[in-house]
Symmetry: C2
Subunit: 175 residues, 2 copies
DNA sequence: GACAGTAGCGGACCACGGTCCGTTTCACAA
DNA sequence: TTGTGAAACGGACCGTGGTCCGCTACTGTC
């Protein structure tokens, strides 16, 4: 079923594939797809899961600066960097998972994992800030639809990386 | 027609009103609604237009720090402040206008007005930055669906204002 | 006043995401 | 082997955003 989705997405582009088509391709009823994944976002999340897990692993147990051991500001920079790359590689899927229904992004579990990670680092780098809010603000420029829009406007990955890095450094690098 | 929409939105909540219903209430065919506004986002934009224009006016010709005359960092703070308040007052409409279709936010004219405004101020405050990118990053936390999510999570307007202000100050206040 | 050309309208129509319920299938007991 | 309950399934169905085309009504001409 995930295989069927993967195949169709690769063939025809994520946006052009209906859930009916996926159900048909998987040889299963539409109801089954929905029981399994809840909604379109759920399916995208499932497909992204493995890739995201890998990044989470690198954050939790990998070498610095992404993993533990480096100063918080550096870890934050490394994180947005790595996330941006992941996002860039799977924009369409991210869009599906974040924008399928209203506010989907802020309901899926992985968002809260990233948020928690950023909160901890913000608390370490700038204890005087409202870490919970600032974490949302840091994640905001990583929204999938913004990324897509920037792409079509001609921004390439390196430029976004550079821009976001400079912002993070300004925010968290101790003066 | 705009009146009809306004009325229904007020009565039943923006999300619960279909375009069919608006067309019916306005005593006009659905096709007419679409010819006039393009899509759901267009209708929301039209309803927001007046309110946004007022803010633009204050920015262009009003008193500092929102209007011309104050240092760029202060103008930026005043801007995000004022925008946040506008957003808070009309979240549902903003959501409609930004999330109706994919990437709608980055296609509507007003976004580019705000973007341009921020670009100019960023160039003034921090010429060494990639102003075009950073402007997007500054606007990102002002996304309507994030605002909505924060609300339902218990953040009140003052807290968001404080958080965003501190971020802007860190970014643009000269050390 | 009759007529032709045209701009604008309306609502039937389509595709899609999501729901719902009748039916199948299967594990287990007798 | 057969009977029974429950869980999983499938696809008909619904409401919605968005399209499209036949028709209306209005303008200007003789």
């Amino acid at each position: 079923m995930l295989e069927a989705a993967d195949r169709l997405f690769a063939e025809q582009g994520v946006t052009n594939v209906s859930l009916d088509a996926i159900a048909a391709e998987a040889g299963v009823g539409k109801g089954t797809v929905f029981r399994r994944f809840g909604d379109r976002a759920g399916l995208a999340v499932a497909l992204l899961d493995e890739r995201e897990r890998e990044l989470q692993e690198r954050i939790l147990t990998g070498p610095p600066p992404l993993g533990p051991g480096a100063p918080a500001a550096d870890r934050l920079t490394a994180f947005v960097d790595a996330y941006l790359e992941l996002l860039d590689r799977h924009v369409e899927l991210f869009i599906d998972s974040e924008n399928a229904s209203d506010g989907a992004r802020y309901r899926i579990g992985s968002y809260w994992l990233w948020h928690r990670h950023v909160v901890v680092l913000v608390e370490e780098a700038r204890p005087e800030l409202d870490a919970a809010y600032v974490a949302h603000a840091v994640l905001a420029p990583l929204a999938a639809d913004l990324h897509q829009a920037l792409r079509t406007e001609g921004f390439d990955l390196d430029r976004m990386r550079a821009g976001l890095t400079s912002v993070v450094q300004l925010l968290f690098r101790r003066a």
